[in-house]
């Protein structure tokens, strides 16, 4: 197992390198560079040239890339053109905010999704089943920006029981309760889609597992339904679900752009959206590197978790 993990980590290096090259090239192929964004649409050529020189944008592309790479391997991801802050520091400031939101969303979507899927599967074709699947369809189809705004309207404007934006109350002194009240609406918005996916997937896999001979045997042996469903059936049904949850986590950690923008949640997604819009190349490169690394790590954790969920799975060194 250790050798397998090391091998996977080493294989990540060319992946990350490839990602950085592709993103760098794309950023420069897209029309409009950082100089236009910094100088604005009314700048003269002199002013644009001055900005390009200040930021090294007048150098050949391959030199710009290798300058970036040389510093990146030493831990220096450069400075943001728009914030002047070190990119690494900006990522570390924002990442915990996104991690908090993403983890909360995954927990919510996993708990609700799995339970809803189990209920739906064990009560197939019942009213519960239909209701759960209808809600799942709704969760799948609703755009997150729409759901976010509706929740703000209901809970912040109409009922006035939850705040509409930010991570903390600007008038208050902060604290865990304050943070919790601010994260509820973004977490619900972010988890809606994942919950729907998980519920549908759990229902499908549970239905398949519940039809297996060993389940019939367990029931025939007199085990109560709860034990049959949760100890014997669900564990086997969870393997593909773990993959989906893991991939969702990777997506969310990469930045829930829409949700963070709607709720002014100062996370990675919001930062990346602004960086891409303003062609803040150092931030985009740093953010993409972090996101790619997260994906690699999450995929590795998922693969390793299979061995724990299913003792039949073993990893070889080959």
């Amino acid at each position: 197992m250790t050798a397998y993990i090391i091998k996977r980590l080493l294989a990540a290096v060319p992946v990350l390198l490839g990602v950085s090259v592709v993103v760098f090239v794309i950023l420069h192929l897209v029309p409009g560079d950082m100089a236009y964004a910094l100088a604005g649409p009314q700048a003269t050529k002199d002013e644009l040239d001055a900005v390009r020189q200040a930021w090294g944008l007048d150098k050949p592309l391959y030199i710009q890339y290798f300058n970036w790479l040389f510093k990146a391997v030493q831990g220096d991801l450069g400075r943001s053109a728009f914030h002047s802050d070190p990119v690494f520091q900006m990522l570390m400031d924002r990442f915990p905010n996104t991690l908090f939101l993403a983890l909360a969303s995954i927990i919510v979507s996993s708990i609700f999704g799995i339970f809803a899927g189990v209920i739906s599967a064990t009560k197939q074709y019942s009213l519960w089943d239909r209701l759960v699947m209808l809600l799942a369809l709704f969760g799948n189809s609703m755009p997150s920006f729409w759901l976010g705004l509706v929740l703000i309207f209901i809970f912040s404007l109409w009922l006035q029981i939850l705040p509409s934006s930010g991570m903390t109350n600007l008038r208050g002194t902060g604290g865990p309760l304050d943070l919790l009240s601010h994260f509820i609406l973004p977490a619900i918005t972010l988890s809606a889609f994942s919950t729907a996916i998980v519920a549908q997937l759990v229902r499908a896999t549970m239905l398949e597992v519940l039809r297996q001979d060993y389940i019939r045997t367990a029931r025939a042996k007199g085990l109560i339904d709860r034990v049959v469903v949760y100890r014997h059936a669900l564990r086997n049904a969870l393997l593909p679900v773990v993959t989906v949850i893991g991939l969702q986590l990777g997506n969310l950690l990469g930045g829930a752009i829409i949700v963070e923008t709607i709720f002014s949640w100062p996370g990675l997604g919001q930062m990346m959206y602004r960086a891409i819009s303003t062609r803040d190349i150092p931030v985009v490169m740093g953010g993409v590197l972090l996101t790619a690394s997260i994906f690699v790590f999450v995929n590795l954790v998922i693969d390793v978790s299979y061995a724990f969920l299913d003792p039949r799975i073993k990893y070889s060194n080959r």
Partner: protein
């Protein structure tokens, strides 16, 4: 039917098989309650801090104290004193930094007069090569460093002298126009600074408006890379906290040289989504905001908890023609297109009255504005059709518009362009819309309009007449500058060149006004609207002054609570 009946029976049965359903429901109730309870508790505890909502208070006497919360439409960029960036940024930095002279940000006049802030007097030599600034005495930066001629000289050299140990390369692009001809800066005495140009630069004094200074001690301590985190100016507020993407907290400067502000703090929270700013205002999360959806202002105006203030400043939203290629190289066609657009209806129906009709590239609030100039081409679709017929386009023609659906200063963007598209269609000009993301669009703008693109769309917010040449002189056509429509009029060039040499400011303004008029009469663009920059504030916000500028401050504001 039997199956459905048994399903209902199953639902109603309270037996062991229903444990999972009951447990699921219990769990939902518990988790849901746990999730909502903290929010209810938090909101309940902070209710006492919520602003009152029963209407304007009777109290009129300003009182010290309070925290004003501002919902900003964009994130705050680095807090440099010498490189303001956007207006949005200027609304923060002007609290911390102060200029030698400025267009008075505390004046509600229709054109902001030039006033001294850190300079009490300033003068220019007859040949416009030397300007002298007499500094206010007894002023200190927020870290105790005295403001004197040495400090001002140090700041200026930091911006143009590449040999300066703290040469601020990143600010150079923004300072290029201001310091393009500078030769040297001299300290005459402790409170007098003299600036020498290599050649006469008649606009230098005007361009010095807004040039702010930073504490040299702070720059030496933190360096160019970190000074934005410790911005030390002479202003009435200091930076207390900066959390990127979350808040910028300014606190009153207790050692301010001038009249101390009333507010304890001003907090800026970036809220990029306009609908969220609306919600935050209504729920009391913020006290002040701008750039809300046009159809929300009427509601705020009716709500006794809020006040809406509008003021035109040097902003204009316009449609730019490709004056080099057919059909818009024909002035008659440009005039026809201008006369086809019902600007009054657009301002009423799309902008909901939050703009003022524009008839020239520089409108109210600018140095080049002529209040006596009447609209040269008012709305008249019948006349537009006649002109098109005369120009050989009796059956109309097709053209393309590149435009950004949204962007800085672009108001209602796409909706306005679509309105104009419909207007033009009524006279036979069929326009195909090509929306482009902002930065992609700006790149194309700088490259100049290609022959197949007949029109484009832009706005600007420049109040100084020094910028007429920047936008309309022939020498600013691509790749040299932002004249992408290839507009060229030798008479306009001559007037602008003459203005560049005119030492008398009033005569110079007269020349700018003439150029402004000629450009409008040439129908170089369709000038549609000046943004009134509606501001919505809670009624407890008192004594806010709306200047004729895109920037504004909360220095004189107090909270009636």
């Amino acid at each position: 039917m039997a199956k459905y009946k048994s399903d209902i029976s199953d639902l109603l049965k309270l037996n062991r098989e229903d444990h999972s359903r009951r447990e699921f429901l219990k769990m939902v109730a518990l988790v849901g309650g746990a999730m909502v309870a903290p929010g209810v508790l938090e909101i309940a505890c902070s209710q006492a801090a919520q602003p009152g909502g029963s209407g304007p208070s009777v109290a009129k006497t300003p009182k010290k104290g309070g925290v004003l919360l501002y919902g900003a439409e964009a994130e705050v960029n680095p807090l440099f004193g010498d490189y303001g960036g956007t207006w949005s940024n200027g609304r923060v930095t002007r609290h911390i930094f102060e200029p030698l002279i400025e267009s008075d940000i505390l004046s509600g006049a229709d054109v902001s007069p030039t006033v001294g802030v850190l300079a009490t007097k300033w003068e220019e030599s007859a040949d416009a090569k030397v300007s002298t600034y007499y500094l206010r005495q007894g002023v200190k930066f927020q870290d105790g460093t005295p403001l004197n001629a040495e400090a001002v000289k140090w700041n200026m050299e930091r911006n143009f002298d590449k040999k300066h140990p703290y040469y601020h390369e990143k600010a150079w692009g923004g300072q290029r126009q201001r310091f393009r001809d500078i030769d040297r800066v001299e300290v005459v005495d402790e409170h007098t600074v003299r600036v020498y140009q290599k050649q006469p630069y008649v606009n230098f004094l005007l361009l010095m408006r807004g040039y702010s200074v930073t504490s040299p001690t702070a720059v030496k301590k933190f360096g160019n890379d970190e000074i934005h985190k410790a911005p030390i100016g002479t202003g009435p507020f200091k930076l207390e906290e900066f959390k990127a993407g979350d808040r910028v907290v300014l606190v009153r400067n207790e050692n301010y040289w001038g009249k101390e502000p009333w507010l304890d703090k001003v907090i800026f929270r970036p809220m990029g989504e306009s609908a969220v700013r609306v919600a935050a205002l209504k729920s009391g999360d913020i006290d002040f905001s701008v750039n809300l959806p046009p159809d929300t202002y009427a509601e705020f105006e009716k709500d006794p908890r809020f006040e809406v203030i509008q003021k035109t400043y040097g902003h204009v939203w316009f449609i730019r023609f490709n004056a080099k290629s057919p059909p818009f190289n024909d002035k008659r066609v440009r005039i026809a297109a201008t006369m086809a657009v019902n600007k009054d209806a657009l301002i009423k129906d799309i902008l909901k009255g939050t703009g003022q009709k524009a008839i020239a590239p520089f409108g109210p609030g600018t140095d080049a504005y002529d209040p006596d100039f009447k609209e040269p081409y008012p709305y008249n679709p019948a006349k537009a059709k006649d002109l098109l017929k005369e120009a050989g386009y009796a059956n109309g023609f097709e053209t393309v518009i590149n435009f950004p659906p949204s962007g800085s200063g672009m108001m209602a963007g796409q909706v306005m362009v679509e309105f104009i598209q419909r207007n033009l269609a009524q006279v036979g000009i069929k326009v195909r819309l090509i929306p482009q993301e902002w930065n992609t669009y700006v790149k194309g703008y700088y490259d100049g309009l290609p022959p197949e693109v007949g029109i484009t769309n832009m706005s600007h917010g420049m109040d100084s007449g020094t910028n007429v040449a920047r936008l309309y002189h022939t020498n600013q056509q691509p790749p040299n500058g932002p004249n992408p429509g290839w507009y060229s009029n030798p008479e306009v060039d001559r007037i602008l060149d003459q203005a560049d040499q005119e030492h008398d400011l009033e005569k110079r303004k007269g020349l700018w006004r003439r150029a402004n008029r000629l450009i409008a009469e040439d129908a170089a663009d369709i000038y549609v609207a000046h943004d009134n920059l509606p501001r919505v504030m809670n009624v407890k916000v008192r004594d806010y002054v709306a200047p004729a500028q895109g920037s504004f401050v909360f220095i004189p504001v107090w909270l009636d609570q």
